[in-house]
Symmetry: C2
Subunit: 118 residues, 2 copies
């Protein structure tokens, strides 16, 4: 459909944390929005970089090398493929996320959130 | 480098229109910021979808099917690979742009802006 995709509008349609919604497709990737609250678990994506852009709130991403990246609105970080990481949002973060289509958000298909397209 | 990439901060480092700057890499793509002013020319990317997210201002994208997509801050649109399009920014638009690395922004290598990484 030839229409703008409004990220805040898409985020307003759900409240669950760690349950990304796909809002567009791009070169074999899912462009998603998600709400993050609290600590996620350490995980890794063996087949995709992991693109995070914070739209509201703040996000911390712990990396396997012992460093932490802190992101506020308008800030992005790409976790390299194969790098273990743990996203944390002490307060709610609203983000845009891009991963190769089919990438399990949890790192494993058994625990991944279902793919939801909105 | 394990640091957040601040899009507004990157945009503040240059003023030229239609000269994207690469700020990150992602799964074989360049993540770029750009300032757009006035009308660009009709062009097509045969090898990449074209991802536009408006950060400030507004952007109109004319499409080959006769429709126009209008984008404001926080709104995105993905022009499908192979679709002729013409971006227009009657006032300045500041955007994040993602294309496969090596995609000429103008549609042709001969007229493309050089790749600049900042």
């Amino acid at each position: 459909m030839n229409a703008a995709i409004d990220l805040a509008g898409k985020l307003a349609t759900f409240s669950e944390a760690w349950q990304p919604r796909t809002v567009s497709l791009f070169n074999g990737h899912d462009v998603m929005v998600a709400k993050l609250r609290g600590d996620y678990h350490w995980h890794v994506h063996d087949d995709s970089d992991d693109f995070f852009l914070v739209l509201a709130g703040s996000l911390e991403i712990d990396l396997d090398d012992g460093t932490t990246v802190t992101l506020g609105p308008g800030q992005l970080y790409v976790v390299p493929q194969g790098m273990r990481h743990r996203p944390r949002a002490p307060h709610e973060a609203q983000i845009m996320l891009i991963e190769r289509t089919g990438t399990p958000n949890s790192g494993h298909l058994a625990t991944a959130a279902p793919r939801r397209v909105i």
